[in-house]
Symmetry: C2
Subunit: 245 residues, 2 copies
C-alpha cells in the first residue's frame, strides 16, 4: 500500500547537491483526486505548505490558497474535501518522507546504538545533506509539522480517521524507530512509547526553544539542533538502560 519511488538526478550546476524526486503513495482516502498527478494538484500542495507556514493553519482557507495560486476555491475542493484533510495529507507526506530518511541514513551504520543515534539525527534535523524534494519545501513542511502537526491526530474524531488509515504512516515511522530500539535492547518493554516520545520530544523542544523557552533547556541559537540531538541521545539511552533499576 505504501511504497517509495526514488529518482536521483544529478544537478550539473551544483555537483555536491543531489536533487531527489520522491514519489510517495499516500492513503487514497485523504484526497478526492491525487494531487501528485497534475500540475494544479502539485501547486496546491506546494503552496498549501507555504501558506500554512505564513499565516498558520487556523487562518488558512481554500479561498486564500486559490488566490495565491491564481485558481479558484472550487478547483481546490476537487482535490481535497476540506482543509483538515489537506493538512493530514501534508503531515502524512512528512511521515512517509521521514520513514524513508530513517531507513536511508541508518542503513550503513554499524551497530544498533549507532543506528539509533542516526535515526535521532534524522528526526531532529531535516536539513541534513541539503537534499531538495522537487515541489515540496521540506524545511517549511518540517516547520509546520513542528508547529501544528499534533492537530492532525488530536481531535474528537480520531477514531473514525484512524479507521480510514490516516495515521498508518505515523505508526509505521514509529514502528521503524521501535525496531531499532529493540535492536539496542532486545525485550525492552517500552519500545513504541519511547519511539513516539522521541519524535514528539524532538518536535516539542525545537518549538519550545523558539517560542516557549522556559519549557526547555535548549537555547535557540545557531546549532541548537545539535544540542537537541545530544539531549535525545542521553534520554534515549538513559530510558533504554534504565529499565530494571
Amino acid at each position: 500500500m505504501y511504497y517509495l519511488v526514488i529518482r536521483w538526478l544529478l544537478a550539473d550546476k551544483e555537483p555536491d547537491m543531489l536533487k531527489v524526486t520522491i514519489k510517495l503513495d499516500i492513503n487514497e482516502n485523504l484526497y478526492l483526486k491525487n494531487p501528485e498527478e497534475t500540475e494544479l494538484g502539485r501547486r496546491i500542495v506546494e503552496n498549501g505548505i507555504l501558506l500554512i507556514d505564513e499565516i498558520g493553519f487556523e487562518s488558512f482557507t481554500f479561498k486564500k490558497l486559490a488566490e495565491k495560486i491564481s485558481s479558484t476555491e472550487a478547483s481546490i475542493y476537487r482535490y481535497f474535501e476540506n482543509k483538515h484533510l489537506l493538512f493530514i495529507y501534508l503531515v502524512n507526506w512528512y511521515w512517509e518522507w521521514m520513514k524513508f530518511r530513517v531507513g536511508f541514513y541508518t542503513m550503513n551504520e554499524s551497530g544498533p546504538v549507532e543506528k539509533l543515534k542516526a535515526a535521532i539525527r534524522v528526526i531532529v534535523d531535516t536539513s541534513q545533506r541539503s537534499t531538495s524534494v522537487d515541489y515540496v519545501d521540506t524545511e517549511v513542511l518540517h516547520r509546520i509539522v513542528v508547529t501544528e502537526g499534533t492537530k492532525a491526530y488530536h481531535k474528537k474524531n480520531v477514531d473514525e480517521e484512524n479507521k480510514e488509515g490516516f495515521f498508518l504512516s505515523y505508526k509505521a515511522l514509529c514502528g521503524k524507530l521501535a525496531d531499532i530500539i529493540l535492536e539496542v535492547k532486545p525485550g525492552f518493554s517500552y519500545s513504541r512509547s519511547l519511539a513516539s516520545m522521541l519524535i514528539e520530544t524532538a518536535n516539542n523542544n525545537i518549538y519550545f526553544a523558539r517560542h516557549l523557552p522556559r519549557l526547555t533547556d535548549i537555547r535557540y541559537k545557531a546549532g541548537f539542533l545539535d544540542e537537541v540531538v545530544r539531549m535525545l541521545y542521553t534520554f534515549a539511552l538513559g530510558c533504554i538502560h534504565g529499565e530494571g533499576s
Copy 2:
C-alpha cells in the same frame, strides 16, 4: 500574581470524600469578565468543559454553549472574547490545579526520588483521592486537556499570547517539576526538558492507549494508568541517571 485559596469542606454524607473548593487566580487578560464571580460565569466554565468533551473543540461554538445553559451567545461574549481564549482559560485552570496538586502530594514525601515519583503519579492520574472541585469536573477537564490541550500553545500566534502571559501557569508547573528533578540530581542539564517531556508523554500515552495503540506499549484496560506511571518512573530515572554515559 498567581495564588490559590483552598477551602476544605467535609461532606457529611461521604466522610471519606473531601469536597474541595479551589479558587484559582488566572491571568486576567484571558477573560473580559471574571467567570468565577458570577453564577452565569461559572455555568459557562462548567458547561464549556462538558460541551467541549462531548463534541470536540472544533465543533464547539458559543451558540451551542448558550443553548446548553439557556443563555445567549452575546452573554457569553461578555465573559470571553472568543472560544480560543475560553479554551486557554480552561487549560490554565488545569495547569494551576496540577501545580497545586503536585505541591500538595509531594509535600510529605521523604526523599527527592519519592517526591519525583509522587509528582509523576499526580500528573498521570487525576482521580486520586476522589477529590471533587465544585463547579469544575476535573476528570472531564483532564480528558479534554489530554485530547486537545496542545492546541492551546501550538499555533501561529504563540508569541503574542506568550507575551500576554497566557502560558505562565504551564511554565510554573514545569518549573516545579524541574526543581524536583534537580533535587534528585543537582546540576542535571535537562531538568526543564525532562519536566515538559514527562507531562507531554503522560498525556500522549494516555491518549495513544485509547485511540492510537500502536504508538504506545500501554494497553488500554483497567488500571492502565498505573502502567503509565511505572513507565514514566523508568523513563524519568533513566534520563536523570543516563547523563554522562
